[in-house]
């Protein structure tokens, strides 16, 4: 069967020398193409600059949402960020698809910081891995209950006081 619709979304995080991250997210689909590029300062994870383009859309009106990207400057990747971005960039007077690109980038910034401990833990086997995950959960209590691996009854939660 021939596809009626295709979408490719790609996000990348690059380490900049000046203690910051360059976050790029682009989407290209059958009806829409856009990209967002943000610099996120460390260690506060604060957006210090942003630029973006709607390169192709069903309506020319979609271009009107691009200046809303500036609302994100000064925001910090952390709690409340999803609602803030959806309210300021998405929503009835904005573009949810541009908001989505920003949130994709923020999600990937968080995953970038999840990776180093996982790089240590994942290659371990059996009891060693179990204990390493238990120690990881103690250090990162926000993960407790966040998914089935860290749900109540999981072996990784054994001995962990919540």
């Amino acid at each position: 069967m021939i596809l009626d619709y295709t979408r490719c979304k790609h996000a990348s995080i690059a380490e900049l020398e000046e203690n910051s991250l360059l976050v790029r997210v682009a989407v290209e689909d059958t009806f829409y193409a856009a990209e967002v590029e943000m610099v996120v300062g460390l260690p506060a994870l604060e957006v210090t600059s942003i630029k973006g383009k709607v390169k192709r859309a069903f309506s020319d009106k979609c271009q009107q949402a691009v200046p809303l990207l500036n609302e994100v400057v000064g925001m910090r990747v952390g709690s409340g960020i999803i609602k803030a971005v959806n309210d300021l960039v998405g929503g009835p007077s904005g573009c949810p698809r541009l908001a989505d690109l920003i949130l994709e980038g923020f999600n990937d910034v968080i995953l970038r910081y999840t990776m180093p401990p996982l790089r240590e833990i994942v290659p371990l086997a059996g009891q060693a891995q179990l204990e390493a995950y238990q120690a990881y959960l103690r250090k990162s209590p926000r993960l407790v209950g966040s998914c089935i691996a860290f749900a109540e009854g999981s072996p990784y939660r054994e001995g962990l006081e919540v």
Binding site: H10, Y32, C147
Partner: protein, 151 residues
């Protein structure tokens, strides 16, 4: 130097009238997984879903696959749809599955909104985009006030 990348690729096909099927793939430095999602129109109900985890981080992650069933019966665009997916498929299962499922659902929705334009325009050259969008606004649940185009 790049420290992290994530790519999501989605394809949508229509094997039968009023059925849209999405196949989605997510691949990043940590996770790799894929989904097949079936949605029935015109009410955008999720009627089928299958998933495979190719690369995960714990021995427990695989238990998230049956939790995909929590999405069955939900309708794209219904009230609190995203929260329901994030809770039933994400929190109770795997947040990356939930992320990919929402991407697939959005792709299906985009196809449902704009997919008919080309054929209608070929039939009626005088059809304007504004008229087409007004018709879609009546047909697609949750479209009203969803962005500056539909407000």
């Amino acid at each position: 130097m790049l420290s992290f990348t994530r790519t999501k690729v989605i394809g949508v096909e229509s094997p039968k009238e009023n059925i849209l099927l999405a196949h989605g793939v997510l691949d990043d430095n940590i996770y790799a997984m894929e989904l097949d999602v079936e949605v029935k129109l015109p009410d955008f109900e999720i009627t089928g879903i299958q998933g495979r985890m190719k690369r995960v981080t714990t021995a427990e992650c695989w238990k998230a696959v049956p939790k995909l069933g929590n999405a069955i019966g939900l309708r794209i665009g219904e009230e609190r749809f995203i929260s329901k997916i994030n809770r039933g498929v994400g929190k109770q299962g795997c947040s990356h599955f939930a992320n990919l499922l929402l991407e697939c659902c959005d792709a299906i929705r985009q196809q449902a909104i704009y997919g008919g334009w080309q054929k209608l325009k070929e039939k009626d050259a005088s059809l304007s985009k504004e008229t087409f969008l007004k018709e879609q606004l009546k047909k697609i649940p949750g479209l009203k006030d969803s962005c500056l185009l539909y407000s």
